[in-house]
């Protein structure tokens, strides 16, 4: 019973947290970044930077961790074969690597730069401008990676025909 329950709960949690993570990534790229440009132009950007962005980033970075941990639990004994791209595991392995790179980007690049942009860490105007550029490029990089990520996550272990197995 427990042997069946753990993967079922891990898959459920992986989907829930993954939807929140990638959903917020799409929110940032498709909604907030263009809206912030318009809001800066008419002097209403503070509403976004003070009240919306910090909350969105909170759920964004922690849902990334939960997604990765639930994914690792779901892989279970297949964790090493997936990450070493062993025969039959390349599809899900590529998906797992893409998710891992995206998680690294969130915590090592996007979040530290967003802290400077939002005034949570001291930064000069020059440093803030540089942080804006780096955070934008890292966010867009993750948006790009999310396309193959979802392709391989959706088909990695189930749609074997798509991977020539």
């Amino acid at each position: 019973m427990l042997m069946e329950l753990v993967p079922a709960l891990a898959r459920w949690l992986h989907f829930l947290a993954g939807i929140m993570w990638v959903g917020l990534l799409y929110y940032f790229n498709f909604v907030q970044i263009p809206a912030l440009k318009a809001a800066t132009a008419d002097g209403t950007a503070a509403g976004i930077t003070r009240h919306i962005a910090p909350r969105a980033l909170l759920y964004f970075r922690w849902s990334a961790i939960v997604t990765w941990l639930a994914g690792a639990a779901l892989l279970g004994a297949q964790f090493v074969p997936a990450f070493t791209l062993a025969k039959g595991y390349a599809g899900i392995g590529i998906g797992a690597w893409l998710g891992t790179i995206m998680l690294f980007n969130v915590w090592a690049i996007i979040w530290p730069n967003q802290q400077k942009i939002l005034g949570m860490k001291p930064a000069s105007d020059d440093e803030k401008n540089k942080a804006r550029r780096v955070a934008l490029l890292a966010s867009r990089f993750n948006l790009m990676l999310s396309l193959p990520l979802l392709y391989f996550m959706a088909g990695g272990l189930t749609h074997r025909a798509a991977f020539g197995l």
């Binding site: 263009p34 490029l137 790009m144 990676l145 193959p148």
Partner: protein
């Protein structure tokens, strides 16, 4: 748009990023199908 002497970065545009993602998906899918499995 003509861009003289400058390299276009696909990440500067939302749709450039999406196109890059679609191309990357195709490349990885072919790689997995042909070489890795």
């Amino acid at each position: 748009m003509v861009c003289k002497g400058a390299t276009m970065n696909p990440f500067d545009s939302l749709w450039g990023t999406i196109v890059a993602g679609v191309i990357l998906t195709a490349v990885l899918a072919v790689a997995v199908r042909s070489f890795l499995n």
